[in-house]
Amino acid sequence: MLTIKNIDVFYGKIHAVRRASLHVRRGEIVALIGGNGAGKTTLLSTVSGLLRPAAGNIVFDGQEITRLGADRIVRAGISHVPEGRLVFKPLSVEDNLLLGSYHRFSFKLKQEITEDMEAIYSMFPVLKERRKQPAGTLSGGEQQMLAIGRALMARPKVLLLDEPGMGLAPNITQEIFKHIVSLRDKFGLTVLLVEQNARSALKIADRGYVLETGRIVLQGPAEELLQNKDVQRAYLGRDITDQVEISNE
């Protein structure tokens, strides 16, 4: 559904992504993991049109989208939930969601958009409670839900998620991740997920890619990556359950 082929991206003078290729099939959750500065965000921003690749191409649904502007890419069906959530802080929760539907907004669709908004509210009831509040007054987890809701309001086929768990308490992160899985299961949404928290990401993903200094160094089914010694050493650290077993012995 989404195929990235040999892209090179420069971020300023930094060669942030080097000849990276990856693909995401329909209905898959694919995790892209890697350390700080590995180029994960750069790669995602290139797909959504915020950055232009120096070389390579990106094909979505049979359509070349490599050099389209961000607004055209949203229209094509790719929504990007950016790193740091970037909700429109002074605007109300409701306005944030409404703006999510900007690319398809027309007065004829008002009914449909209101229904979509209700669907988001039933998924995240806390947003409904706070729908008149400025988005900046929400907690981090609520802002993440809002950012995801806003992206869903565009009715995407593919959701790009950049570090949805960043800065959140572990139980909130787990909740967000559960929502991501249910989005795929219920609506057949395709997800490309970038995470530093490699374990949580790989646990919900079907497949994964490991990015290191701009190169994809490893790829495979998520369970395999979870078992991979290199991945474990570099990104997973020691599992808490391992520690429990050790102390039991």
């Binding site: 915020l50 970037l86 429109f88 802080k89 002074p90 703006l99 900007y102 400025p134």
Partner: protein, 301 residues
Amino acid sequence: MLVLGETVMVLLDYIQFLISGLTVGSTYGLTALGFTIIFNTTGIINFAQGEFLMLGGMLSVFLLKFLNLGLLPAVLLAIIITTCVGALIERFTIRPVQKSSTINLIIITIGISIFIRGVAMLLWGKDTYALPSFSGDTPLSFFGASMHPQSIWILSITLVLLCLLKFFFARTIYGKAMLACSFEKKAAYLVGINVQRMVLFSFMISALVGAIGGVILTPLTMTSFDVGILLGLKGFAACILGGLGNPFGAAAGGLILGVLESFGAGIVSSAYKDAITFIVLLLLLFVKPSGLFGQAEVERV
């Protein structure tokens, strides 16, 4: 009896000050609205805002004089041309360098204002010009004070524009999308907003509002190539006074400044008229930097 008579006289004076203050204040408010629109979309303070008022007034005068158009066509054409100037400014001076920091863009707008003023001086010289009033010069009596008919035009057009803009930013998705561009540009791109087009529109609307302000003010105060400097500064002061980014605050700030100025000029001395604006501005910035109607930023991390 004598004392009562004096009180009435003083009261009449005050009403007179109030009316002229509100009239002048309206145009400060319109200038401030122009600042607000561009600021709300881009975070830029457009210091060429005053030149839009100058262009509105000067173009009307010259279209009327040299092309012998009627007053209404001349005025409308002047407003349209100024709006196009706003678009050109965005397209050729702001867009090519849009990646620069906000402060650089603000300095560019200062350059633009100097340029426009220079061109106006070359074209039309340094003379002062007048535009006929929209509906005659016979003063109307208002509670015993006299009121120029143009004042009514100024007050009502300002009010209408203000309501339209408020509606646009608070109730329409396009207005909200414009706001979104300044709050979180990256996210605005990601929801499919064409940010560049929004910035272009903001310069056009701002020029439009400025030109209308210039056109309605000129019959009362006359115009010359350099009226934009002081009007721009006053408008900016009004903007800060009301809280930057808030259209109603901007208009209210303008009215308050106008009234203060008018009372200051009437009671103290007209020599200090302009100083009063800036003293008020400084005092307010010491006490409440977010402006009278501005909200301190609400944010949780």
